[in-house]
Amino acid sequence: MAISQIAKAQPAEMADTMRSNGKIYVVVGVVTLIFVVLFTYLMLLDRRLSALEKNDKTS
């Protein structure tokens, strides 16, 4: 009802339903989680490399 009124007022179709029922936050949550894992992995690699450099210097 309200959505169809918005759709009539606005010519271009957008994902208004997904926004109004909050499902868009599920998508944002999934993408955020994936990148949390990726950045954690990148940080771990960075730290491991720092440890290797430290070893390399002392040896």
Binding site: P11, A12, E13, V28, F35, L49
Partner: protein, 255 residues
Amino acid sequence: MWSVFPSRSSCFHTFGANKKNGTLKLPFALKIASIILVFFALIAGFLVDVPRLDILNETIRNLFFHVTSWFAMVFLFIASFGYSIHYLNTGNAKSDLLAKIFVQTGMVFGVAGLSTGMLWAQYTWGSYWVPDPKLNGAAVALLAYLAYVVLRNSMTDELARAKVSAVYNIFAFVMMVIFIFILPRMTSSLHPGNGGNPAFSSYDLDNSMRIVFYPATIGWILLGLWISELKYRIETLHKKDEEFSNASPIHLDGD
């Protein structure tokens, strides 16, 4: 904070050289900034209000991901270009290594830009590949950089390889500028900002999109620098290791 074109004296200030042990590190603050900005781009990119346009619809949000990866690629190629010039000026082997790494990381972002662009084109322009000067130009530019990698790998003499690839890198950079930024502007292109128009005045970038787009660009660029830094550190360690294993038999003979 850093200069894109490294000067003779401070070539490693791009990364902030650690003078104590001679390693090259991207400041930790910039890594944190990269994480924050990329997350801002991801979250705000989905949630920010965007203009309602026909055909584009919600795909206009691809601007935060597709265009930013091209920007990251161009930035990394500029850095590589700068280090190649620096190499030719000074003969510093580190600059040659950095030039190579920036090309490699830049190409990753370029492939990301090309493939995301193809997907976007399918749903807005109707085909994965359209005969658009910007598309073909981007493909040619990426091939020019692919040739850089092939050229490097084809040479075994380190000094010759460094010199020839530095000179070729300058050529590849000019090719990229011509094929991505000049030629598409001289003819009509489906991409916004082409066909004689300067890039940003004709973008359908309203203010809410700019607020996400610019931080997103900086975030992806910093991520590119971070990955390049890791690659540089790995290759430096690898080199040291090789030198060590080459030197050790002599040492053992001495015993």
